[in-house]
Amino acid sequence: MSSDQNDIRNLQEKIQAAKKSSSPDAPNTPKPIGKIMKVVVEIVAAMAVGLGIGILADNYFETRPLFIIIFFLLGSAAGILNVFRVAKSLQNN
């Protein structure tokens, strides 16, 4: 009888531990390498997209280099925005 109760108590502790580990505020395992890589790629990707749109628009309207300048600046801003969001998600973790 007492061994049964012990088993149940053990099981209860295990369930509690499992619940704790799956709750959202459990500390996530830090992944510094991946996070740093992520930040660098985010800036470059946004700049590349901005530059790409700028080149396409300039080829279409034949206004080189007006749109390249505008969209490169917008792309850089988007890159900073991406980094800001990554940093925010890091802080939440």
Partner: protein, 246 residues
């Protein structure tokens, strides 16, 4: 050129045709890249078919392995997307296992790393990006467009904010694919370069050999980590499509 030099760190990334095929002038030859994709799928299927053929209540090690990987992805999807994400589990799980095995098969000497080619990872990321965009419009209608105009922004800033948000959105597939590809490409090149140092230094080669062993452990970590990052970012994009207000 490459064949002349026995120590060539780039040679491992060369595509060679195994069976030439053409349909309507489009080259769809079966290459070594295709072969190792088949290997990755075969490895995944072998793992799950072998480990789940004898399903027992008390699982053996192989069954534990497949059940753990299932739980890992199921938990990730539930944490990131919530219950609505359950419908996308088969896709996310296949994606993770495929990239995971591609990365790991690439670590074996004399193999080819499928994910070290940008076009392969970009095909994945582009497909995910298109699918997520279509899902976003299907679930939210035109209301999905409000992700480009966050609430609480004054109207006179909209001409500035909306293009920035659109560029930020369009940069997602590029950052997703470049990250995976660059990690695999750089890691494998460094491994080959240090392996070359061992040969060139002769007796003194034990120093880079020690370093190479450490580096190889790091590469194993990165192979798993990059598969994880690719999958979790897919989950995050899916969450943005399903719940654009957050």
């Amino acid at each position: 050129m490459a064949a002349d030099n026995p120590i060539d760190p780039i040679h491992q990334f060369e595509i060679s045709k195994i069976a030439e095929m053409q349909i309507a002038g489009v080259d769809i030859s079966f290459t070594n890249s295709s072969l190792f994709m088949v290997f990755a799928i075969a490895a995944t299927m072998t793992l799950f078919m072998l480990s789940l053929s004898k399903r027992s209540i008390i699982p053996n090690r192989m069954q534990m392995l497949s059940e753990l990987s299932y739980n890992f992805i199921a938990n990730m999807l539930r944490d990131q997307v919530g219950d609505q994400g359950r419908a996308y589990f088969p896709f996310i799980f296949s994606l993770f296992m495929f990239i995971f095995f591609c990365n790991f098969i690439g670590l074996i000497p004399y193999t080819f790393t499928v994910t070290s080619h940008l076009i392969v990872t970009f095909a994945f990321a582009g497909l995910i990006f298109l699918a997520v965009t279509i899902i976003g419009f299907m679930k939210n209608g035109l209301g999905y467009l409000r992700i480009f105009y966050p609430s609480g922004i004054p109207i006179f800033l909209a001409p500035l904010i909306v293009p920035i948000e659109i560029i930020s959105y369009l940069s997602k597939p590029i950052s997703l694919s470049v990250r995976l590809c660059a990690n695999m490409l750089a890691g494998h090149s460094i491994l080959k370069i240090f392996a070359g140092f061992i040969v060139m230094l002769g007796f003194l080669g034990f120093a880079p050999l020690i370093f190479l062993v450490v580096l190889y452990a790091l590469e194993t970590l990165i192979a798993a980590l990059q598969a994880y990052i690719f999958t979790i970012l897919t989950c995050i994009y899916l969450n943005d499509a399903l719940h654009p207000d957050h």
